[in-house]
Amino acid sequence: MMFDKVLVWVDERMGLSAIYSTIFDRKIPKTNWWFTLGSASLFLFVLQGLTGMFLAVYYVPSPDHAYDSIQYIMNGVAFGWLVRGIHHWGASAMVIVVFIHMLRTFFYAAYKFPREITWLTGVVLLLATLGMGFTGYLLPWNQRAYWATTVGTEIPATAPFIGDFILRVLRGGYDLSAVTLARFFAVHIWFLPAVIAALIGIHLYLVVRAGISAIPKEDE
């Protein structure tokens, strides 16, 4: 068939089938449904990335327009409610799924040798996911967002000696302002996604390299 010929031609030059078999045809021990949470986390990250790209088409990170631009997405744009709804609920789902993924790894003791670095990158990925939730929460610029971020930035401010400095760094000054909104937006759409994407790359490389750990037995 013509299609198969093209496939072979491309594979000869790119070696895609080798990548495919390394990732999908590797040997794994007997697992259960808890082992799907890593893939679920990845799916949710991609989903959040895609819906986030679409939201960025209309969202404006400025106190003058943030709220109105979201009202426009919800009421003025076709399927805007759907895109924002998926991003909203996907955010909560991602925090939950990533957290349960960590619990599974912990209770199956899958973080031990030789998988310590997989675990450590996972720790940063969990923290980055929470950071996405924290920065994204401010963006609607409604009362809830404003006061949640007011409180959220005051908590690290209670740290001794440097607390006040941390608060000013988070807010970009003493007050929660346009500067805060702009930097939360930048962190939400550029800095943290970049960190998460890079760490997912390392995380997955290590999962493929070391393989999946088996479920521990009673006497282990």
Partner: protein
């Protein structure tokens, strides 16, 4: 297996996957396209009949200015633009309404009763009572609005651009 008239298992899975894949792609893809092109499908009203009130409010003789504001909405942004129209009644039957926008660079002209002319403050353009250029840089006469009367109320046909 190969001589059975029905499709085999592998073929069946392929067909079902292709069908479900297309379906899911459409369910996700079509709203995505709709989302992106949505603002382009909104038709903006570029013309309107503006009510100027009862005709008897406008005395015979001197041109009288009527000011109004038009608001355009683009997404989350509202823009209000002010316009002015000079209502001129030479006689009971003769009615003209001119835009006060200078045809040179869109400054607003004002009626000077002593000169019997509209004068633009920006580059000293002059228009006579019929809107024709008498002096200065304006390339054409003042824009004239189409008018209509309904139950003694005056309307002008406003078109943008």
């Amino acid at each position: 297996m190969s001589d059975t008239p029905n499709i085999d298992r592998r073929e069946f899975v392929k067909v079902v996957l292709a069908f479900l894949g297309t379906l899911m792609g459409a369910v996700v893809g079509l709203p995505a396209i709709g989302y992106l092109i949505s603002p382009a499908t909104r038709v903006q009203q570029k013309e309107a009949w503006i009510p100027l009130g009862p005709l008897e409010n406008y005395p015979m003789g001197e041109p009288k200015l009527f000011s109004f504001t038009r608001t355009t909405v683009n997404g989350w942004e509202k823009t209000a633009n002010s316009y002015g129209a000079y209502v001129v009644r030479k006689s009971e039957t003769e009615l003209k309404v001119y835009s006060n926008m200078c045809t040179h660079l869109s400054c607003r002209v004002t009626w000077k009763a002593d000169l019997k002319e509209y004068i633009c403050p920006c580059h000293d353009g002059h228009f006579d009572s019929a809107g024709l250029v008498t002096l200065g840089p304006p390339p054409e006469s003042l824009h004239e609005y189409e008018t209509k009367l309904e139950d003694g109320n005056l309307f002008i046909h406003f078109t943008e651009g």
